[in-house]
Symmetry: C2
Subunit: 493 residues, 2 copies
C-alpha cells in the first residue's frame, strides 16, 4: 500500500504537486498568510536587487527600477523583495493590484482545468471569440459597467484603450457630420494617405497635468511630466486648465466654485477657437481625478459643467478611469460621485481591471466591422481572472471596506497634517486613493525613502505629492502600521 501511495505521489509530483508539502501549489500553500508587520533586513534596493539591476541594465535602461521582487513569496498587502525585505505595499504596482499578491481566489482560477485553454490559446478575439464570450463579458466587465454604458471593447493595455476610445469618438463625430451617408470615394482614397477629408482635422481637448498613456494618441492628451513627451512629434490639440482646488474644501468653497467657472469658461473658449482654426473638438478627455499629475481632484459641479459643454457642442466626453476605477474609491467608478445627468460617452479602464478596455454608449458604436480592432484585442485569460476578483469584491464587500479603510487612512493623514503643518498640506483622498503634499520634491522624496526603510512602500505623483494606492483588501490594521511609521519619520524630519 505504501508503495502504491508513493507511486501515486510520484505521478502527481510530475504533474505539478509541490515536493515539500503534498498540496497543490507551492507558492500558495506555503506563503498564504500575510505577516503581521514589515521586515527590513537590508538597504533598499539591497545587494541582490542591485546585482540584478546591473544585469538588466545590459539589456535596457533601468534608471527607474526600484527593486526586484520575489513575487512567489509576496502575499496580500505585503511585497517581498529579492533581498528578503517585506514591505507593506501602498503603491501596489502603480495601483494595479485589486486584491494584493497571490490571492487564494486568483490562484484557484489558475489551477482550475476549465480555465487552462484560455491561457494556452490566446485568440484573435475580434474574429474568433471563445465559446460563450458574451456570457463571460456579461458576468464580468459588464456586471460592473457604469450605468448607461452598454457597449464594451477589451484591449491589451490602458494606452490602447484610450487610443481606441478616441477612435470611437472620431467616428461618431464624422458619422453625424455625414448624416447617414456612406463615406465618399475621396475620403476612402485620402485616408490611406493620411490627408483630409479621409483623415479629417479633428482634435481632442485635454487638460494640463493630465496623463492618459504613452502611445502617440494617448500621449497627445498627456501633459504631466516632460520625460513622457519630450522629443516626440505631437498633435497640436487644445489643452485647457484643470481646476486647482484649495483645501480644506469647506473653507474655500467660494474660491473653488470660481475656479470651476474659470476653467469651464476656458474649455468653452478652446472649443470655440479650435473650431475657428478648422480643427473642431470631437472629444473632451479627462481623468475623473488627475493621478500622475498630482492627485488633482475637481468638483462634481466641474464635471457636470463639462458634460453640459460637451452636449451643447456635440462633443463626446471620455472619462479615463484607468487608475481610478475598479472600486478604488469605494464606488466602482470615481465618476459615480459626480452624479452626471447622463452617462459619459466613453469610460476607459485597465490596471486593477487586469485587462484594458473601454465602455461606451450606443451612439459611439462603430457601424462598420473591424474599425476598433487588433489581432489580440485584449486577452480573455485576464477576464477569466477578473471574474474571481469581482467575486471577491462582492463576497467580501470590498467597496464598503475600501470606504471604511479609506476614511480611516484619511483621518491619519489629516492628523499628521495638523501635527506637521510645515511639512504636509492638502491631504485628500477617496477610498484607496490618497495623497498629501510636501513643500517640494526633495523633502517628499526623502520621506518616502525613509518610510521604505521602515517597511512601508508608497508612491509619488505631481511635483511634490506623496501618493498612496492600496489594494481593496487593505484594513485598518494596515493603516495603523502606515500611520506609526509615517509619524516616526515626520517626527525625525
Amino acid at each position: 500500500m505504501t508503495i502504491r501511495l508513493f507511486k501515486q505521489f510520484q505521478t502527481l509530483k510530475l504533474h505539478g504537486v509541490c515536493s515539500v508539502c503534498p498540496l497543490w501549489r507551492h507558492a500558495w500553500s506555503c506563503y498564504s498568510t500575510e505577516p503581521n508587520s514589515p521586515t527590513v533586513k537590508t538597504s533598499i534596493p539591497g545587494p541582490k536587487s542591485i546585482a540584478m539591476k546591473r544585469d538588466l541594465d545590459l539589456i535596457q535602461n533601468t534608471d527607474v527600477v526600484q527593486f526586484f521582487v520575489d513575487y512567489d513569496r509576496s502575499v496580500g498587502n505585503y511585497i517581498r523583495d529579492v533581498d528578503g525585505n517585506v514591505l507593506l505595499d501602498l503603491f501596489t504596482q502603480i495601483a494595479s493590484l485589486p486584491l494584493g499578491y497571490n490571492h487564494p481566489r486568483i490562484l484557484e482560477v489558475l489551477k482550475d482545468p476549465a480555465n487552462i485553454s484560455a491561457f494556452a490559446n490566446r485568440p484573435a478575439l475580434g474574429i474568433y471569440p471563445p465559446t460563450e464570450f458574451a456570457k463571460l463579458l456579461s458576468e464580468t466587465l459588464l456586471s460592473v459597467a457604469p450605468q448607461g454604458l452598454t457597449q464594451l471593447q477589451t484591449m491589451a493595455c490602458g494606452a490602447c484603450s484610450v487610443e481606441h476610445a478616441l477612435k470611437g469618438a472620431f467616428m461618431a463625430y464624422r458619422r453625424r457630420e455625414r448624416g447617414g451617408s456612406a463615406p465618399t470615394q475621396q475620403e476612402i482614397d485620402t485616408c490611406l494617405m493620411n490627408t483630409p477629408p479621409g483623415c479629417p482635422k479633428l482634435s481632442v481637448l485635454s487638460f494640463k497635468n493630465a496623463f492618459h498613456g504613452r502611445t502617440m494618441g494617448a500621449l497627445a492628451l498627456s501633459h504631466s511630466k516632460w520625460f513622457h513627451n519630450l522629443d516626440f512629434p505631437a498633435f497640436n490639440w487644445p489643452i485647457a486648465t484643470f481646476p486647482t482646488l484649495k483645501y480644506p474644501l469647506e473653507e474655500f468653497y467660494k474660491e473653488n466654485i470660481a475656479e470651476d467657472a474659470r476653467c469651464l469658461a476656458e474649455v468653452e473658449d478652446k472649443i470655440e477657437s479650435a473650431k475657428k482654426a478648422g480643427q473642431p473638438v470631437a472629444c473632451v478627455a479627462s481623468e475623473p481625478m488627475q493621478c500622475e499629475g498630482g492627485d488633482r481632484y475637481a468638483s462634481p459641479q466641474f464635471f457636470q459643467g463639462l458634460q453640459d459643454i460637451c452636449q451643447k457642442n456635440g462633443i463626446a466626453l471620455l472619462l479615463d478611469e484607468v487608475q481610478t476605477g475598479a472600486g478604488a474609491t469605494g464606488k466602482f467608478w470615481l465618476h459615480e460621485y459626480f452624479h452626471l445627468r447622463d452617462p459619459p460617452n466613453l469610460v476607459t479602464f485597465a490596471k486593477k481591471m487586469l485587462t484594458g478596455g473601454f465602455y461606451y454608449t450606443p451612439d459611439m458604436r462603430p457601424t462598420e466591422g473591424g474599425r476598433i480592432f487588433n489581432t489580440w484585442s485584449g486577452d480573455p485569460s485576464k477576464v477569466v481572472v477578473l471574474k474571481a476578483v469581482l467575486g471577491v469584491i462582492k463576497d467580501e464587500s470590498l467597496l464598503a471596506r475600501t470606504t471604511d479603510t479609506g476614511n480611516y487612512l484619511m483621518k491619519s493623514l489629516m492628523d499628521a497634517q495638523e501635527k506637521y503643518p510645515h511639512l504636509l498640506s492638502n491631504a485628500r483622498g477617496l477610498g484607496s486613493l490618497a495623497a498629501v503634499d510636501f513643500p517640494a520634491a526633495a523633502p517628499r522624496d526623502n520621506l518616502v525613502e525613509r518610510l521604505r526603510s521602515l517597511g512601508v512602500h508608497v508612491g509619488v505623483c505631481g511635483t511634490s505629492s506623496m501618493r498612496l494606492r492600496s489594494t481593496l483588501t487593505l484594513e485598518r490594521k494596515h493603516v495603523d502600521i502606515f500611520a506609526d511609521r509615517f509619524n516616526t519619520v515626520l517626527r525625525d524630519t
Copy 2:
C-alpha cells in the same frame, strides 16, 4: 484503503484533477491528439456560432466575427468551432500561434507551480521586475534576437511595440541633434503643450500598403485598408511606394531591379522634401514583407538600398516583424534573408512571440529613465510561456521543418497555379507564409468560403490575395489535405 484512496482523489479533484480521467488537465489529457483530417458538420458559422454572435452583438459590433471557437478542444493545427466543426487551420489566429492549439509543452508551463506567480501577479515591470528577470529575457527573447540588436523592451501588443520603437528613434535623432547637451528649459516647457521645440516637427517615412497597427502613431504608418484609417486625424508624414514585384521572379529580373531603383529614388526624394518642409524624417519604417497589404515582398537589394539611404541621412531603420518573425519564414526573422550590412536599428515583434516588444541597437537606447515605459510594459507570464515555445522550436528543429513544409506548400500552390492560370497568379511564400492572387476579391472570397466548407480555414489579404499563415508545426501531411481540398474547389470553379 479504498476509502483513503477515494478521499485522496476527492481532494485532488478539488485541486484540479479531471473528474473523467485521473490525470492532471482535462483539456490536455483528453484531446491531445490531432485528428487525421477535418470534419465539417454544419454550415460555418453554424447555428451555435450564429446564436453566440447575436449575443455578442448586443455588446459590440461583430461584423467581422467569423465563428466561435471551442479552444478547449482545438488541438495542434486543427481548430474546433462551437458547432463541432474541426478545421485544418492555416490562418491560426492571424498568424499568432507558434505551435498550434493546446500544445503539451505549453500546457506543462501552465501547470508548473514554479510559474504560477507570474500569472497571478502582473508587475509594473519597469520599476518592480521579478527576480532574475534579465536571466529570463536572456534565455528567451534575447536568445533569438536579431544579430547586433542587444537591447530589448517588452510591450503588451504589436501596435504598442511600434509606438515605443518610434519613440526610441525620435529620441536618438534629437539626442544627436543636441550633441550631448541636456534639453533646454524651453523644450521641457513646450513639450507639455505639444508644441516645438519640445515636441519637434519630426516624421516617419512609411510605405503605401503598409500595416503597422491601429494606435495613432502606428496608424500613421498604415495604409492598407480604408476602414483602418477613415475618420481619424493623422500625422501628415511622407509615404513612399513599396516595390511591386513581377512574378515569376526569374523571368522579370530586370523589371524588378528597375522597380527597386524607382522606389528607392522615391524614398530619397521624400526624405529630401520632408527636410525642406521642416519635418525631417527620423525613422523609416517597413515590414520586411507587407502582410495585410497583400503579401508584398521586396528584394534583399531593396532593403540593402533602404539601409544605405537611412545611414547616409542619419535616419533609423525600423523593421516591423510582428507578423513575419518568430520563425515563420524558416529563419527566425525574415530580414535575415536580406543580408544587411549592419543590423536594422529597431525590430518589433508580437503575435507568435506571445508578447509584444522590440529589439534595438545601443544607439537607440534612451539615456534617461522612464522614457519607454508604461504600467505593465509587457507581461512576464507571456515570456514564461515563450520559453517553452522556443524550447520546442529548438528541440524539434521547427525552423528546418517550416522551411521544408513551406517548400512543399509552395510546390502545391505552383502546381495549382499552373493548372488554373485563369484563377491563380503570383504564388509566393517563405516557410509558413504563403499567398496567391485571384483575379478579384469576389472569386477569392468565394473560394475561401468553399474551402472552409471542406474543412480548410485560410485567410485573405490585400485586395484579392489568399493568405496562408500556418503554425511552425505544420507537416507535409497537412499540406496534402490543403492541396486536395484546394484542387477540389478550383476544379469546381
